[in-house]
């Protein structure tokens, strides 16, 4: 059962993606650790960390594509799940500091000593153990998403209203985490990390390891997303996206499907956040900013909604551009991002990957029918009058 489930995940596009990822996971750390510094093939540590950060963004984008691209749930609050995963990891990293903090307290993080807290709050217990923190990385976003989704989907909140309440969710968390008495470092968040699993967090080898871990997590989640979206459940998700009430009349309990995919997606976002924090060295309430979640949606739209690899590509490309812009022309980045979104919406509604694969299909069909007409005995693989038809073509159409 499990093998056939995973086997479904594979096709040519998935193969290319996995090959590229495998190469990156091996070559980037090798280029940093094994190639001497003077060589043109040396990958500097800052670049390893930067690319590692892009991979965690890519994983976040993948999670958004799963719910938005396949089930039509436009989440404008996924940064909340990302940040919660990040905080769970940050708490572990804080507790690893031990007596090396400014105040040298063996248990309490510096900010708690500073606030004169006598002891560790109960919800910080267990975070000195990696396995516990790792569990919380998926459990906390997962449980929050489950509870939120339970109420939202059962009450049949959809479309713009759902998007708005996801924004409200992340905004509420932003305000909560800003407060010092929440016990998460307030405004400053969690930072000054020393080591992770006993490895110096600044060391090149740790950086390379974190990059590889981000790559592996991305591959793992991608395979899960593929297997899910290509299963019969995935077909139900697309049915819900395109004609929700029709799906209900077929006997599918739409809210259960949404809840499943929503919770799964939130857990993936949590993993992304947990890998992000040790690489950037800080987590603060700014990660809950509503604009962050909106940015993720732009990445997915640019890369191609409902294509999975498009989400990854969009996240990497847009963030690469962001890095470049904020260094070269810091003032115009937001305009560039807004402009990009407008251009993509108007001219590339299927995003980069969607447009590309549509063109590819049309080309192949044209060639096939040309061969057919030329008397080759290979018939066209599918009818030639369907060039614009991809799985993402149809407008969402509500049942009457």
């Amino acid at each position: 059962m499990m093998t056939s489930f995973l086997f479904r995940a594979m096709d040519a596009r998935a193969g290319i993606f996995l090959a590229i990822m495998a190469a990156a996971i091996v070559l980037v750390p090798a280029g940093n650790l094994l190639v001497p510094e003077g060589s043109p093939f040396h990958v500097p540590t800052y670049a390893v960390t930067l690319m590692g950060k892009y991979l965690t963004y890519a994983l976040l984008a993948l999670a958004v594509d799963l719910v938005w691209g396949f089930c039509g749930i436009l989440s404008l609050g996924h940064a909340a799940f990302f940040a919660l995963g990040g905080y769970a990891m940050g708490m572990y990293l804080m507790r690893q500091i031990g007596t090396r903090g400014v105040y040298g307290d063996p248990i309490l993080p510096d900010f708690m000593v500073f606030l004169n807290w006598p002891e560790l709050p109960w919800y910080w217990y267990g975070f000195d153990m990696f396995w516990f923190a790792a569990l919380m990385v998926v459990l906390v976003p997962g449980v929050l998403a489950f509870v939120f989704g339970w109420f939202a989907f059962r009450s049949r909140v959809t479309g713009v209203y759902l998007s708005i309440i996801t924004q409200a969710l992340t905004y509420a968390l932003l305000l909560a985490f800003f407060r010092n008495d929440m016990g998460f470092g307030g405004n400053n968040g969690l930072t000054d990390f020393k080591d992770i699993l006993g490895f110096d967090i600044q060391a090149d080898s740790t950086r390379a390891g974190l990059f590889a871990a981000s790559g592996i997590a991305l591959v793992f989640c991608y395979v899960i997303c593929r297997a899910v979206t290509r299963s019969k459940l995935g077909k139900v998700l697309v049915a819900v996206r395109d004609a929700e009430s029709r799906t209900r009349f077929l006997g599918y309990r739409v809210e259960h499907y949404k809840l499943f995919v929503w919770t799964l997606s939130a857990m993936m976002a949590g993993v992304a956040g947990a890998l992000y924090v040790p690489q950037v060295g800080i987590i603060n309430p700014g990660e809950f900013a509503p604009a962050n979640s909106i940015e993720v949606v732009i990445w997915v739209a640019v890369g191609g909604r409902g294509t999975l690899v498009g989400a990854v590509l969009g996240a990497v490309l847009v963030n690469f551009a962001k890095t470049w812009f904020t260094a070269a022309l810091p003032d115009i980045w937001l305009f560039a991002l807004g402009g990009l979104f407008v251009v993509v919406t108007l001219f590339l509604p299927k995003g980069i990957v969607g447009t590309f694969s549509q063109g590819w299909t049309a080309l192949r069909q044209r060639k096939a029918s040309a061969d057919y007409e030329a008397g080759s005995d290979e018939p066209p693989s599918s009818p030639p009058h369907a060039p614009s038809a991809t799985a993402r073509d149809a407008e969402p159409q509500p049942a009457e």
Partner: protein, 248 residues
């Protein structure tokens, strides 16, 4: 007929939208195995009646029972579908970005939970069933086509195929011949008569030629309640029916 022996039993059902009574004390009984045609002018409440039966609209008052015992007013769309009531919409609604085959596969009677579908692998029996349906609705050569690319009439047929795939006890078919050519309409009537051999069917239709070719008992709705009931010739002879409907 009593409630206990009926397949579908509506008694005194009323629905109002902003004070306007779309259904007004509607009572109607369908026997097991029966095929019934429902006619009536636009706005008579035919679609609203189907909405009430399938759980889309809650009645303000009245009873709706299925199989003599199940109170449908307490169930939602998914559980009513699972009980064995399938519906074809007035405006054909198929899953446009799925292929014809996938539309049928999604409709096919099978466990409906997320975990069942996540690990589902299509069985040989299911494939055979889909093949049979494809032949029946004459879309065999379109099996890999996206439903979006079908003609209007083909979408109607696909939706009928999806209805059959669910293997419901009762089929509610809303204006199946709308937008069809005369030839297609005649074929659709034949198809529905075939289906009625082993299913109970309620068909809403405007086309009198179509209704006549079904040759079944007819219920005339008007302003949300039953105006007349009987054979087509019987109701056509009814003066009130002629006045509100046929004579227009």
């Amino acid at each position: 007929m009593t409630r206990a022996t009926s397949l579908l039993y509506l008694d005194g059902v009323s629905v109002s939208f902003d004070g306007f009574k779309a259904l007004n004390e509607l009572s109607l009984t369908i026997a097991p195995g029966e095929m019934r045609a429902i006619i009536g002018p636009n706005g008579a409440g035919k679609t609203t009646m189907m909405d009430v039966i399938t759980g889309k609209t809650r009645p303000d008052s009245g009873d709706v029972f299925f199989n003599g015992a199940v109170d449908l007013t307490g169930e939602d769309e998914a559980s009513i579908a699972e009980l064995g009531i399938g519906r074809k919409f007035q405006k054909p609604t198929v899953f446009e970005s799925h292929t014809v085959w996938d539309n049928l596969e999604l409709a096919l009677k099978a466990p409906r939970g997320p975990f069942a579908t996540l690990f589902h692998t299509i069985t040989g029996a299911e494939k055979t069933r889909i093949e049979d349906l494809l032949d029946l609705i004459r879309l065999n050569d379109k099996r890999d086509e996206l439903a979006a690319n079908l003609s209007h009439g083909q979408k109607q047929w696909l939706e009928i195929g999806m209805l059959l795939a669910q293997d419901p006890k009762l089929l509610l078919v809303d204006e199946p011949a709308a937008g069809m050519t005369d030839a297609e309409t005649a074929e659709t009537a034949e198809l529905l008569k075939d289906i009625a051999n082993d299913h109970s069917v309620v068909v809403v239709e405007h086309d009198m030629v179509f209704v006549r070719s079904l040759g079944v008992k007819v219920t005339v709705l008007h302003e949300g309640s039953v105006l007349a009931e009987g054979s087509l010739d019987h109701v056509s002879a009814d003066e009130r029916v002629v006045e509100v409907y046929l004579g227009r």
